[in-house]
């Protein structure tokens, strides 16, 4: 029985004793698992990159995020665009367009999910980075980016959904179902605070290394804050924001000397125009051949708006009403839309019946055949969210409100002047062409506004300029809402009045105007107690 004497202790030792706990300690491998993650400067940068990633998700975010694009709101809800593509395809988008969206609709859900994912990520950085041991300069900049991106996300939410729950730190499990929606005014105040911190902490555009081109800047923070103020002033101005504040912000952007109008409007939406002198903030894309999920660095935005007969799915069709808004020979029109038979970057376009609603497609989303991705949903084409021309027109609007008509006219004329000296769209003169041909005769095109323009006429001129300068850039819906013109425009788009009635049913009365709002995702209201928007 000697053998027994030995084997029993051996076996028992393998159970009890020190070896036991060690054997059961199996750390996750290949991933970092501690909040000390943020103490490394490289990690700190990566954690901020991940916030940018979340705001770029258009298909396949981490929280069940399907297709969602800014044009589904900014263009489709307005009189600028119709759903497009074949009649039966993407009925959820048609429901959006007609304000018949169901409370479980996927598009608003995806936007909601992605923005809150960005907010969670920003909050992680804001919570853990301040105590990190990385250099103060880098820390400041990264925190500035996080505040900017949180402000951006909340701004994006408030203009679509109204007031939303506000989180200054990652949501605790115990808070689930215990939070409620802030008012619209509280949400704007939160956004203001974030952007103001971002303005303080972020460098100007020239303060970044070249490799960081595309990161949030002081200028971008000012621009978005001004945009938020303007929406607030025109919808629910409980916080008493003033046009002077808008003016000061836009003025600071102009005075910073970081930006100027690109001499050629036709270049703005081509690969060579990306992150150009006029760019204030763009969502950056890169073709990395991944079609889905957070690892995807390209976008679906190009293919979904592309031409079905060449490369695309044919959605977001510019309306005749938008085309009619352009003055005669405005060089911006062929940069904004294309139609059957047009040559676009050297490629002749056929637009087939049954695959298009209006006869037009969005030229600004067209992707140069040379840069078309092999994985169709991974286009490298950036989405411009803010450019200097917008700032000039915002400044003009503020100046007009502040009684400085001459300055306003001057600012609008800067924009018109650049437009009239722009070339034809890239590669539009012959099949295979990729050059920018100048217009032969520009006499009388887009004359300067009269310096004596004032009152409502001046505002109309500014609104008109915004619509054509920023056509198909997803600004129209918000401009209409904040200036109280939305419901009339909607009635013109859908003379049956159904869309308008629906939109009114889904509106909140703000201090200034009726604010149409999209549905809070069904689950958030039904299961987690968030107040639903009217009529959903």
């Amino acid at each position: 029985m000697k053998f027994v004497k030995h084997i029993i202790p051996i076996v028992l030792l393998s159970v009890v004793g020190q070896g036991c706990q060690d054997f059961l300690e199996k750390e996750p491998l290949g991933v970092e698992t501690d909040k000390t993650f943020y103490n490394d400067p490289v990690n700190a940068v990566l954690s901020v990159n991940a916030i940018y990633d979340a705001i770029s998700w258009d298909a396949g975010g981490i929280l069940n995020g399907g297709n969602n694009f800014e044009w589904m709101y900014g263009d489709i809800l307005s009189d600028d665009a119709a759903k497009g593509s074949t009649p039966g395809d993407y009925l959820e988008l048609r429901q959006m367009e007609r304000w018949e969206t169901l409370s479980n609709a996927p598009i608003p859900q995806a936007t909601w999910n992605n923005m809150f994912a960005a907010i969670y990520r920003a909050n992680q950085v804001i919570q853990y980075l301040p105590t990190s041991s990385i250099s103060e300069d880098l820390k400041n900049r990264l925190l500035g980016e996080a505040y900017f991106l949180r402000g951006y996300s909340y701004h994006n939410l408030v203009i679509k959904f109204g007031g939303v729950p506000l989180f200054e730190e990652p949501v605790q499990n115990s808070a689930w179902g215990q939070v409620s929606r802030a008012s619209i005014a509280e949400t704007h105040a939160f956004i203001e605070a974030d952007f103001k911190r971002a303005i303080d902490m972020l460098p100007e555009r020239n303060g970044y290394a070249t490799d960081d081109l595309g990161r949030a800047t002081k200028g971008a923070a000012r621009a978005f804050l001004a945009r938020d103020y303007m929406f607030e002033i025109g919808t629910d101005n409980t916080n008493g924001k003033t046009w002077q504040e808008v003016y000061d912000l836009t003025n600071a952007i102009i005075a910073s000397n970081q930006y100027r109008l690109d001499p050629n409007y036709a270049r703005l939406f081509e690969p060579e125009g990306e992150n150009g002198p006029e760019s204030i903030f763009e969502i950056q894309f890169f073709d990395n051949n991944v079609g889905w999920g957070p690892a995807k660095a390209g976008t679906t935005n190009s293919v979904i708006q592309g031409n079905r007969s060449t490369w695309g799915w044919g959605f977001n069709n510019p309306t005749q009403n938008l085309v009619n808004e352009f003055e005669a020979n405005d060089p911006r029109l062929p940069v904004t839309v294309y139609k059957d038979g047009d040559i676009v970057v050297g490629e002749k376009q056929a637009i087939n019946g049954g695959e298009n609603e209006t006869g037009y497609l969005n030229r600004k989303a067209f992707v140069d055949p040379a840069t078309r991705p092999s994985e169709t949903q991974n286009s490298p084409k950036n989405i411009i969210l803010f450019r200097y021309a917008d700032v000039l027109l915002m400044q003009a609007e503020a100046a007009a409100h502040l009684g400085n008509a001459a300055e306003a006219v001057n600012l609008v004329n800067q924009v018109r002047q650049r437009a009239r000296t722009s070339t034809k769209p890239k590669g539009s003169t012959a099949v295979g062409a990729t050059d920018y041909q100048p217009y032969e005769n520009t006499a009388g095109v887009l004359p300067d506004l009269s310096p004596s323009l004032a009152g409502q006429e001046l505002f109309n001129a500014i609104y008109h300029e915004r619509r054509v300068e920023l056509g198909m850039e997803s600004r129209r819906f918000y401009d209409l809402v904040r200036t109280g013109r939305y419901f009339d425009a909607l009635l013109k788009k859908d003379p049956s009045g159904v869309s308008r009635t629906n939109a009114e049913r889904h509106s909140i009365q703000g201090s200034e105007n009726l604010i149409p709002v999209i549905t809070i995702p069904l689950n958030e209201s039904q299961s987690w107690g968030l107040a639903q928007n009217p009529g959903y």
Binding site: V4, I7, V11, V15, C20, Q21, F23, E25, K26, P28, L29, V31, T33, N43, L46, S47, V48, N49, A50, D53, A54, S56, I62, L63, T86, P87, G88, D89, R94, L102, N104, W112, A117, P165, P170, V171, W176, D211, L213, G214, F286, D287, N288, N289, P294, A295, G306, R308, W311, G353, G354, E355, G359, E375, T376, L522, N523, E524, S527, W528
Partner: protein, 1017 residues
């Protein structure tokens, strides 16, 4: 391999001066011949087995040799030859040996002493159906075990549920193969298995602790027995066809419905801005010429797909050294083009008895499988696309010299192109499983066994995606190759002391031991682009583009346990079993790591009582009762309790991609495993000398702390919710198995029926919140898990036929306000369940469940002389199935192809119809998820019918052959079901339990005809 064989069979001795001996072996009681009796020449490894008529003949080395006759259930008999050439032997049954022994966790027990609910399936039944999947072979054989093939695609695993769905995640049972625990037994061929014991109740499985909650299947493989080598060769070959195809609209019908959807919405189909002139012409042409068009189902079916299986084995050895070797090759083409599997299995085992005290042995298995990756995706799976593709499109368009472009019509891809691409998407698996044991007998009663098992796997997934252009919407502008390599290593080491002893009326069978389990896996994948479409170039190095993407994952876990069990029996009448296990797992935090799992059970062999002896109707009566607590850790991920920073949250700056990292899943450090408490009552009864056997079991299983992997969470949290212990679920039921076997002259009967009734109910969920699941694109969630209802019940709107005319729409109002203001005649009438005057998501209700009320199997074996006939039925009743592809095939838009019976749709000319009208815009939302999708999923299937003939031993002995049976067999010859989809056997789509019974064109089972032979020599 021959070398290997030579090594194993090496010890065979050449016979010299042989003497021929022959004779017969008979039963000592009834005098009937005994086939299969092992006859060994004492002290050698040479020997034979008796034939079907009990006869034997063999050569003995000399006239003084001694023969040992042995047979299960009979006492061994040693017979000196003493110069005789004819020996007629009668074997006496051994009361002790007759006691069937049942394998239970970490040991064996006499069947009469068993107190838990354990069912045994023998090799005969496992090899009946033509499959290499052992789990499928279990289907319908055991009461309370439901096996559902997740697809008819070769290479896909079956889903096994013991006593219902026990978890919201994985409810797979634990497998124990000769003492080695594993989750997957695909490395075993059905022919390698001696028997399978299904441990159903917690009193039997509690000794497996936190892995025992979903039942345990103990597999005993065939091993070498002392005696002359026995060679077996089994083969079968045949053809397969899908048992079912759907009746779909043809080209003319398709075009009619397509155009009608436009005209019903007031659109002018001849307006070129509505339908392009070419498309209109194609539709018109189909109607005017009454074209049939393309039958897409036919186009993707692989008719008469071959199936073949070869298995060779040899077993034998001496009392001291025994060996077994088997090789299996299985090759099956699927019934859909370019699906199929090849599997090659090798198995080798050796057992050594060194002396009275020490014995040891090992077994080694190697499995190699290769199969095509079949996609079940709604939009890119071959079958889902084939049934929606427009029949007016040709498979191949001679004008464009390209695949027919289906996109303008059905918005789906060309199914034949998709089927063609499956050719270049394959998975190859290599698995090496070995176990090694050493056994020490300290005394006759007290012994120790150490078993170590290792499991190494190397897999490769290679998916090549060729470049092609069918249309702008159906194209791939650059070819790519996805190459994934997986590597796994797991081991289990158990050390168990056993004590088995009888003292007079008392008998004790006890084990105590420890077990350590370790698991590790990692994988790396790379995608390369622009690779020539040539199999010799399907390697990452052949990529011509500089664009690569790569990923990897790695995981590890461990388990350390202390276990024990004691079974005490008094006078063979009163039995008591208690077991205990303490498990520590690496998957939980230190504070929650260790769990304790006890069980108790009692048995009473009533027939042993004196008052039972005076009758001969009820031969056996045993009553059992048991209670146990078990756990399930399958749904705990390796990182469940860690704050993990997820990579690949990518963005780009200055035109260059950058890496991003974020925590994407919240942490729940309080997580624990799922706990089940199960009570079981059972009766085993044998009538008329045990010709009729009945087993009844009633159980009640309550599982608490159910892990919800993605629990409902507000999206405003901004990250994925952590797994939480959120639910309580109950499965209770009744199982019955009835067997009748009799031998009468030339006839042998063996009939078996088994049935089980299970009621599943979710008792509690976190904060009462229901969990939505089973998302199908186009209709959203189809299932809901809510308190008081079966798990993952179907949840949607209720309908009440269709509105046949405007008057019915007008009549459906509340105070004059129409309930369905958007409806037109021919639209679906939804029931306003909450009576709020409108139809919306609040009008949804429970519409059924995929969990059957009743599942059953029926086996019959009839033998007449040398003929044998087998019949096996299996079925489910009382379950519903969601025919999810009805969003396409019963859609109102006409853009997808429709069921042929959609031609009976509502039209002004056909106002009495029950099929809704065509409409492009569908303002009434006819397509919303409702009871129109939910169908009766019950079925009865003749799973197998088989006729065999065994050649007479007399004939065979002339060719030195011990047995030869030839047979013909058919699988799935007959299926009775009202279900309209391809296949009533619907598993969990995407392997997700919340999708149970949601059918997205499940790959139909094959109707298989085979011929085969079993040869023993």
């Amino acid at each position: 391999m021959f070398l290997l064989m030579a090594l194993i069979i090496g010890p065979l001795e050449l016979l010299a001066q042989a003497v021929a001996v022959s004779g017969t072996v008979k039963d000592g009681v009834n005098g009937e011949p005994l086939p299969g009796v092992t006859i060994v020449v004492k002290g050698t490894s040479s020997g034979t087995a008796s034939g079907i008529d009990g006869s034997f003949s063999l050569q003995v080395p000399d006239a003084n040799a001694v023969l040992i006759f042995s047979f299960i259930g009979y006492a061994n008999q040693e017979v000196p030859v003493n110069g005789q050439t004819t020996l007629n032997i009668t074997l006496q049954s051994d009361a002790k040996a007759l006691e069937e022994v049942v394998v239970i966790g970490y040991g064996t027990i006499k069947k009469s002493d068993l107190t838990g609910s354990v069912a045994t399936v023998d090799t005969e039944k496992i090899t009946q159906v033509a499959t290499v999947d052992v789990n499928q072979a279990l289907q319908g054989k055991v009461a309370g075990v439901q096996v559902t093939p997740s697809s008819g695609a070769p290479g896909t695993a079956s889903r096994v549920r013991i006593r219902g769905v026990g978890s919201f995640g994985t409810s797979d049972p634990l497998y124990v193969v000769d003492g080695f625990t594993t989750n997957n037994i695909d490395y075993l061929a059905p022919t390698d298995i001696e028997s399978m014991e299904v441990l159903k109740d917690a009193s039997a499985t509690a000794v497996y602790g936190n892995r025992g909650a979903n039942g345990v299947i103990i597999v005993t493989t065939k091993k070498g027995k002392a005696g002359a080598p026995v060679f077996n060769f089994n083969t079968y070959a045949g053809i397969q066809n899908p048992w079912n195809t759907l009746e779909l609209a043809n080209a003319s019908q398709y075009a009619t419905l397509f155009l009608e959807a436009y005209t019903n919405d007031g659109r002018n189909v001849q307006d070129p801005s509505v339908i392009s002139p070419e498309n209109y012409a194609a539709l018109r042409n189909a109607i005017d010429n009454n074209l049939t068009g393309t039958d897409w189902q036919k186009a993707v079916i692989n008719k008469n797909a071959p199936i073949q299986n070869y298995n060779f084995s040899v077993n034998g050895g001496t009392e001291k050294s025994r060996y077994g070797f088997s090789a299996t090759y299985f090759d099956q083409q699927g019934t859909i083009t370019n699906t199929g599997m090849k599997r090659f299995l090798l198995r080798l085992n050796n057992d050594y008895t060194f002396n009275k005290r020490f014995s040891a042995g090992y077994s080694l298995s190697y499995a190699n499988s290769k199969f095509n990756n079949y996609s079940t995706d709604q939009y890119s799976g071959v079958l889902p696309v084939a049934i929606v593709a427009a029949p007016i499109i040709p498979v191949w368009d001679p004008i464009t010299n390209n695949y027919g472009n289906s996109v303008p019509f059905s918005q789906g891809y060309n199914p034949v192109r998709l089927a063609e691409e499956q050719r270049t998407r394959t998975t190859q698996q290599n698995r090496l499983v070995g176990t090694l044991y050493g056994d020490v007998k300290f005394t006759d009663a007290f012994s120790f066994r150490s078993t170590f098992g290792g499991d190494r796997s190397f897999n490769k997934i290679g998916n090549y995606y060729p470049q092609f252009v069918v249309s702008p919407a159906e194209q791939r502008s650059q070819s790519s190759l996805y190459d994934e390599r997986q590597n796994g290593w797991g081991w289990t080491w158990s050390n168990v002391f056993s004590y088995v002893k009888e003292f007079g009326d008392h008998s004790i069978n006890a084990v105590v031991g420890t077990e350590a389990v370790s698991g590790f896996y990692d994988y790396v994948n790379v995608t390369g682009t622009n690779i020539l479409n040539d199999p010799s170039q399907y390697y990452i190095g052949a990529a011509k583009s500089t664009q690569f993407s790569a990923g990897s994952n790695v995981g590890q876990n461990s388990l350390l346990s202390l276990l024990g069990r004691v079974n005490y029996s008094y006078k063979n009448r009163y039995m008591f079993t208690a077991s205990f296990r303490a498990d520590g797992t690496s998957r939980l935090t230190k504070t929650n790591r260790v769990g304790y799992f006890p069980s108790f059970s009692f048995g009473w062999n009533a027939h042993e009582e004196a008052f039972f002896q005076n009758q001969n109707v009820l031969t056996t009566l045993k009553l059992r009762a048991g209670y146990g607590e078990v756990g399930n850790q399958n749904n705990l991920s390796n990182t469940a309790t860690s704050y993990v920073v997820t990579p690949q949250q990518r963005y780009s700056f200055n035109g260059v991609p950058v890496e991003g990292r974020a925590n994407t899943v919240l942490v729940n450090r309080d997580l624990i495993w799922e706990n089940s408490k199960m009570t079981n009552f059972g009766v085993d009864a044998g009538f008329l000398n045990n010709q009729i056997n009945l087993t009844l079991d009633y159980f009640d299983k309550r599982t608490t702390d159910l892990i919800v992997g993605s629990p409902p969470a507000p999206a405003y949290v901004g990250a994925l919710p952590p797994a939480i212990n959120a639910g309580t679920m109950q499965n209770k039921g009744l199982e019955a198995a009835l067997n009748y076997s009799k031998k009468e002259g030339d006839f042998t009967y063996d009939l078996g029926v088994n049935a089980s009734f299970i009621r599943n109910k979710v008792l509690k969920l976190a904060e009462g919140q229901p969990v939505a699941g089973g998302d199908v694109n186009g209709i959203g969630a189809t299932t809901r898990t809510q308190e008081g209802q079966p798990f993952a019940s179907f949840y949607g709107r209720k309908t009440d036929g269709i509105f046949n005319n405007q008057a019915e729409i007008d009549a459906y109002n509340v105070d004059g306000e129409l309930i369905q203001p958007n409806a037109q005649p021919g639209d679906v009438k939804f029931v306003d369940l909450n009576s709020d005057g409108q139809i919306d998501d609040l009008d949804r209700t429970i519409l059924g469940s995929a969990i059957p009320d009743f599942s059953y199997g029926f086996n019959a074996f009839l033998g007449y002389k040398n003929f044998d006939f087998k019949l096996f039925f299996q079925g489910l009743a009382g379950n519903e199935t969601v025919n999810a592809l009805s969003i396409f095939n019963a859609n109102p838009r006409g853009t997808y192809n429709s069921y042929a019976d959609r031609m009976n749709r509502w039209t002004p000319q056909n106002p009495a119809a029950n099929e809704p009208r065509m409409t492009l815009s569908d303002p009434n939302q006819n397509v919303a998820f409702s009871d129109r999708y939910v169908e009766n999923g019950s079925y009865l299937r003749l799973r197998n019918v088989q006729l065999g003939y065994s050649l007479p031993a007399v004939t065979l002995s002339r060719f030195a052959v011990k047995g030869l049976r030839v047979y013909v067999s058919a699988d799935n010859l007959l299926t009775l079901t009202k279900y309209r989809g391809y296949e009533p056997e619907v598993g969990d789509w995407y392997g997700n339990a919340f999708y149970q019974g949601v059918d997205v064109a499940t790959y139909p089972q094959a109707r298989t005809f085979i011929g085969g032979l079993n040869l023993t020599f």
